[in-house]
């Protein structure tokens, strides 16, 4: 790991919804060029954590550092300005709008008179789709309602990376996809990291996680359990951490090197 500050670093994050304590003193970080997986059982606080980063919720306590600098994220626009983009599980697309309109949702190109600059938006959308090798969509002027699940996922991911983003967070990107489409999305995730982006992926599928992630953060009931390095852990160990909340595998005796399980 490099000595420089993480791209995104969360320290001591707490968040409650009424009497429900969704996050308790959670730490999290992700660096440029790495894929950090965020795993945990239902109710572990994964979605709440990324929604805090995205500005959907405001944190109650804790600090957020972006490239080493303390920042405040009060709304989605703050997150976008920092270069943090989220691909939500439900994709957050407006079905009645076309592909271009969805790509620019909330940050349309316009002139001084608030007039939409359709030509700029259409051209840049076409360029982004091409650069991500998304060729299956056809006309980018058709409503998103007409697209298939995989095509919609492509639009959502393309939207996240179009904005010179630094951190891309994907919430369960493969949950609703078939085998081929899952493969395409995982390849896309690896490509994003290779381009130097900091990528966070939330997934229940540990096979996917172990394929793309460089590190794995485990949450349980709103608390940190552990951070594993992919090359120094096993699926069993991660499952153990997710289910019991114990950070290390149970029998430590006779363990010779680098956390390789001997049992």
């Amino acid at each position: 790991m490099s000595r420089t500050a993480p791209t995104l670093e969360l320290r001591g994050i707490s968040k409650s919804f009424g009497s429900v304590r969704a996050l308790i003193d959670v730490d999290f970080e992700v660096r440029d060029g790495e894929v950090m997986a965020l795993v945990g059982d239902n109710g572990a606080g994964k979605s709440t954590l990324i929604q805090c980063v995205a500005g959907i919720h405001q944190i109650d306590r804790g600090k957020i550092y972006f490239e080493g600098k303390l920042v405040r994220i009060r709304g989605p626009n703050d997150a976008a300005r920092l270069g943090i983009e989220v691909v939500y599980q439900d994709l957050a697309l407006a079905d009645n709008l076309d592909v271009v309109q969805n790509m620019y949702l909330g940050r349309e190109e316009h002139d001084w008179f608030q007039r939409l600059s359709e030509t700029i938006m259409e051209r840049r959308t076409a360029e982004t789709m091409k650069s991500l090798a998304v060729t299956t969509i056809g006309s980018i002027r058709q409503p998103v309602a007409r697209l298939s699940g995989g095509q919609r996922q492509s639009v959502a991911v393309a939207r996240a990376v179009m904005w010179n983003s630094r951190v891309v967070i994907l919430d369960e990107p493969t949950a609703a996809l078939g085998v081929v489409q899952t493969r395409q999305v995982l390849d896309l995730v690896k490509r994003l990291a290779k381009q130097g982006l900091a990528v966070v992926i939330i997934s229940h599928n540990l096979l996917d996680v172990f394929e793309v992630a460089t590190r794995i953060t485990v949450l349980r009931l709103g608390r940190n359990v552990a951070v594993f390095e992919r090359d120094k852990t096993t699926q069993d160990e991660v499952v153990h951490a997710i289910t019991t909340g114990a950070p290390t595998k149970a029998p430590d005796v006779g363990d010779t090197d680098e956390g390789l399980p001997t049992w």
């Binding site: 709008l97 909330g106 939409l116 006309s139 058709q142 309602a145 007409r146």
Partner: protein, 404 residues
């Protein structure tokens, strides 16, 4: 929105354009054609029934008759696009009529010039819209309930404000809103300006696409669009000029229509209205201030209702206890819905509302002319509304079925 050309460098041929359009129709995007065909059928029917229907006199009458409803319908489209409803528009138009009548009243102690009375009536619309919109957007009270409360309360306000039962409007400027007709020459100048503005807008759009290196759809198709719009404009002026001339109310509706269609389709605000109506949560996550959009939309609705109310008051040169009542509310919403605006939000157009209002006004006018009763008019309008919403529901089902 009209289907735009694909983003390939190669110029899309006619076949590709037609295929795209056909895909749209098959997946539920039927556009304005049902209304236009319905309107044509109704015109043919009434022309055969009564020789006075297709005359310049009646044409001028029809324009002034539909102006108020069309204005209110254009405003309520924005509310419907959000998936909300505004039931107060009828009596908001009545309140605006009362305000304008009261403020011009000679000897009342608060008599103001006509123009200022009109401006203050519109300001009343802004205040009402902001008030109702805030309840919907900030507190989360369902718009149906907020505006139902408005419907009831403003009806009371009108009765309370008119103890004498009726105010006659003597101010000429106010009455001219619905009773002034342009001279023939002025009419032709209006036609030239409107057509020229439309041609300039199309040309600048084409040049913009060329400059950006995006393919332009078939140029003769663009030429055809300009020819159709220009042809209709000149035909309207030609017919109106054979009678009293182009009514000011007609020009007012045309200008409001262009302004509102522009806001809906070409500005960031309009885009956000469609986005909130399509998926409010996605809009919120994209950083759109959903509450602000909602409040502004209710202001638009109330302001357009106020303008419509001023037109109604001017047409009768008076307001009475029936101001804002009757079929105003339902005609306006029906016009928007017949014009293809979905009550589920996210789909619809200002153009559709104008066509819908024309359809409803034509039916009312024709049935009056033949001598049928209001009962017939209500039954026919009701059936057409049902047909329009059925068409919308069926096409919507196809739209969702064609996805994924």
């Amino acid at each position: 929105m009209v289907t735009q050309a694909q983003s390939s460098r190669a110029s899309p041929g006619l076949a590709a354009l037609l295929r795209e359009r056909w895909d749209g129709i098959r997946s539920g995007d039927i556009g304005s054609w049902p209304v236009i065909i319905g309107l044509a059928a109704i015109v043919v029917f009434f022309t055969q029934k009564n020789g006075n229907f297709l005359t310049a006199v009646n044409f001028d009458n029809l324009i002034v008759q539909m102006a108020g409803t069309a204005t209110i319908a254009i405003g309520v489209v924005f509310v419907l696009l959000l998936g909300e409803i505004d039931l107060s528009i009828g009596y908001v138009s009545g309140v605006a009529g009362v305000v304008v009548a009261e403020l011009q009243l000679p000897g009342s102690g608060h008599q103001l010039p006509g123009l200022i009375a009109i401006v203050l009536a519109i300001v009343t619309g802004v205040v009402i819209g902001a008030f109702q919109g805030s309840f919907v957007a900030l507190i989360g009270v369902p718009s149906f309930v907020v505006t139902l409360a408005g419907l009831i309360a403003f009806q009371g306000v009108i009765i309370k404000a008119l103890p004498q039962g009726v105010i006659v409007i003597q101010d000429n400027l106010i009455n001219d809103v619905a009773n002034y007709y342009f001279s023939n020459i002025a009419g032709w100048i209006i036609a030239i300006l409107l057509t020229g503005a439309y041609a300039a807008a199309r040309l600048s759009s084409i040049l913009g696409r060329l400059r950006a290196g995006i393919a332009v759809r078939l140029w003769w198709l663009e030429l055809g669009r300009v020819a159709v719009v220009g042809g209709i404009t000149f035909a309207v002026v030609a017919i109106a000029n054979r009678d009293r001339g182009v009514p000011f109310a007609g020009l007012l509706v045309a200008v409001l229509f262009i302004a509102m269609a522009y806001i809906a389709k070409r500005t960031t605000f309009g885009r956000h209205v469609y986005a909130v109506g399509g998926n409010a949560e996605a809009a919120r996550r994209a950083g759109i201030n959903v509450a602000r959009i909602r409040i502004l939309v209710f202001i638009i609705s109330s302001v357009m209702a106020a303008v419509g109310g001023i037109i109604f008051a001017a047409r009768l040169s008076s307001v009475d206890l029936n101001a804002g009542g009757g079929t105003i509310l339902l005609d306006a919403i029906a016009a928007a819905v017949i014009g293809g605006t979905s009550l589920y939000g996210g789909r619809g157009s200002v153009k559709g509302a104008l066509l819908g209002a024309a359809l409803i006004a034509t039916i009312a006018n024709g049935i009056d002319l033949i001598g049928y009763s209001a009962a017939t008019r209500f039954i026919v309008t009701g059936l057409i509304l049902l047909a329009a919403v059925t068409l919308d529901t069926v096409s919507r089902r196809r739209l969702t079925a064609s996805g994924r």
